[in-house]
Amino acid sequence: MAKKTTNKSNEKGWEYAPSLESTGHIELKESYDLFIDGKWVKPSSGKYFETINPANEKVLAKVAHANEEDVDRAVKAARKAYDTVWSKMAPSERAKYIFRIARLMQERARELAVIETLDAGKSIRESRDIDVPLACNHFFYYAGWADKLDYAFPTRKVESLGVAGQIIPWNFPLLMAAWKIAPALAAGNTVVLKPAETTPLTALKLAEIIELSGLPAGVVNIVTGFGDTGAAIVAHPDVDKVAFTGSTAVGKHIQRAIAGTDKKVTLELGGKSANIIFEDAPIDQAVEGIVNGIFFNQGHVCCAGSRLFVQESVAELVVRKLKQRMDSLYVGDPLDKNTDIGAINSKEQLEVINKYIKIGIEEGAEMYQPSCEIPSKGYFCKPTLFSNVAQSNLIAQEEIFGPVLTIQTFRTVDEVIQKANNSPFGLAAGVWTDKGSRIFNLTTKLRAGVVWANTYNKFDPASPFGGYKESGFGREGGLHGLRAYVKLK
């Protein structure tokens, strides 16, 4: 009898080859001016700053730095557009402009996704599958509200507010621009928007799209710059409404700055959200939810499930499965379609994250990071898990805004509710259990604006988002998101 040979074809391992999204089709200018009154204008100071790709530290473009004078021009343009055009336009026409913007964004989705990934460092998988489609959908959703405001607030007379000054963060640059601009326009306001200094490019591309859409001049103005630019918007006497998404510290600063004025304000601030796993949870899906909760967008998510609570009886199992799952995550070039965790948005943020990792180690928590390689150039951070964490540890209390998870265990329902609520923040929470009545107990008692039950980090234009307590006030998204941009008589 002839000897049988082995029948195997994988003697070596199977690694995915790099699969880079092409950057060939995108158009980026060398430098960008301010978009004011429908025109691209130079900053009055003549100053520009560089925006870089955090994955390789290369300069992508130069961007204008708007000062008080530029902000004043933008607010004046917005006021004029409000008084003469936008507030007088038939709401159904307003709707059509917003629909048109949505469609133009959809047509250029691929370009927007690539630029978002270049400028922000987020993986192309996320900018392509999440950020950009959600941003388009947000415009599409709010467009339809423009001529239906009377249905949104029955028996009440609905009026727009006027000029909205909007300041957005760097974690979801285009999506946050959409969250701000779409409802403001639908409700009949005009806009001055400032993107974050590290991620201005997609907002500027959006300005190009808005220009292309034929939206009347001055209805949307985009001014780029730093904190001083934002402060000028907040302080401008002719701004009727301030909408801010960002850190709690800056949110408090804004609240103080507008004290004594009649400006309306909505704040979407930080969080330290609890993600709670009960022993009867669908464990494997819960592990996936933990991963989505904290490693989505490198953990640069205000509602990140950064405090994991696991019932003691399954803690060992969950941690083991979580580590296995973390081992299968790819950290690396954000343009690679197989990358799960891209680059940290900026050097400063990487320093903040590393500072907290150091604190965690000093506090005696047990750290785990997978053995994956990370690129030598650019700002990268391995997914990080801290177990044996106490509620009193700094890493369990303060927002880290990075891919760093803390794990605490609990024994009873009441205990975990108390621990989850034991925080100045109240943005979001996750609950994983197979028991319906327990879900409703928790979703009622958790003091948080969004509760994900048996899921985490889901977003939709129709779904209101926003926090309790120091996580801010006002809602964005859905019917409730309109409320922030109208006055009711």
């Binding site: 029948n7 995915y16 080859a17 494997d284 899906q285 399954v314 199992l317 899921t455």
Partner: protein
């Protein structure tokens, strides 16, 4: 009704009635059912499954982009994992002989291709296949236990199995009694698998759950756990006669059962999705799933198989396209 619930092994997750049907313990309530064996009772409770979460996870596997060398390597792996299958009432020795030849010579005009892993036939055709394959590296798998319905007495199923093994089958693909499973008689299912395993002797046992009839992923998971604990060497999704067959969600659920068993015991169990995987792309996504859930140890035909008839040619077309840069036509590849 008493509220006493028998203590199962609280090995790693607390007991949940969602996972273990109470009717399994019917004997507690004075019903005359066979008493479950201690082995059956030692199966850990199965975790509950959230289907939407599983769908999201599977969508994530499908975003993996397999290009260049990784693709070529993956495609060859797929070919090498195929159980080339014919399971029809109209099967003849002629048809089986042709398939056996193809199993060893997938596309001779392109040298260096692997063979498939096995051919899969009815018991009556095992002898023919053995004659054709002689001592080829291609294995012979035979379905048994009154495939595909499994609706036959135990004695017939055992005889069916012994016959296939005696005719030269290296592997036995049995079906579970889905009716009994859905009726809550999980211990019956367990005992039956254990008996067939014994009848297999040296042949490796693949246990077909026929997931398309099990209705929920929770059932798929429980059936997987039962099969694994009853002695399955492989668990397999489907007969190919029922839709839906090997969806990624089902395969993922079964892979997680294998993973948990491995983590608990260090014992590897094989996986065979069968039915419905007819394109290279879907096959590669399955490999991605195996790699990320179980690890590269499972990426060989010793531990992973595709039950398919038309997949091989699609993979061949992809390989030739990658080699030549030209899109291919089925007319250039032999059907049998």
């Amino acid at each position: 009704m008493g509220s006493t619930i028998p203590t199962v092994n609280f090995d790693w997750i607390s007991f949940s009635t969602e996972c273990v049907s109470l009717t399994e313990f019917g004997f507690f309530y004075g019903m005359s059912k066979p008493k479950p064996s201690p082995q059956f009772l030692s199966i850990p409770a199965s975790p509950s499954i959230d289907k939407v979460g599983v769908e999201e996870r599977c969508a994530r596997f499908q975003t993996r982009s397999i290009k260049n060398d990784a693709k070529m390597q993956g495609l060859k792996m797929v070919l090498n994992m195929i159980d080339l299958t014919t399971l029809e009432g109209k099967d003849t020795p002629g048809k089986v002989r042709q398939m056996c030849y193809k199993a060893q010579h997938l596309h001779d005009s392109y040298p260096g291709l692997p063979t498939v892993a096995a051919v899969c036939v009815y018991p009556s055709m095992v002898g023919i296949a053995r004659k054709e394959l002689k001592d080829s590296i291609v294995k012979i798998a035979s379905v048994s236990t009154a495939f595909p319905s499994g609706q036959a007495p135990m004695s017939v199923k055992l005889e069916d199995t012994r016959f296939a093994v005696s005719e030269g089958a290296d592997e036995i693909d049995m079906v579970i009694s889905r009716g009994k499973f859905l009726a809550g008689e999980h211990n019956f299912v367990f005992d039956e698998i254990a008996a067939i395993k014994e009848a297999c002797g040296k042949a490796r046992l693949k246990v077909i759950l026929e997931t398309g009839e099990l209705s929920t992923l929770d059932n798929v998971r429980r059936a997987s756990d039962i099969a694994i604990h009853a002695g399955a060497d492989f668990i397999k999704t489907s007969t190919g006669k029922i839709q839906p067959a090997a969806t990624m969600q089902v395969t993922y659920t079964m892979l997680m059962a294998i993973r948990d068993h491995y983590d608990r015991t260090g014992i590897m169990i094989g996986m065979k999705p069968a039915g419905g995987i007819s394109t290279s792309k879907l096959a590669l996504h399955n490999l991605v799933m195996v790699k990320e859930v179980l690890g590269e140890k499972w990426l060989s035909n010793e531990w992973f198989r595709f039950g398919a008839s038309s997949l091989a040619n699609d993979v061949l077309m992809q390989i030739m396209k990658t080699e030549t840069g030209l899109y291919q036509s089925p007319e250039y590849f032999s059907m049998d």
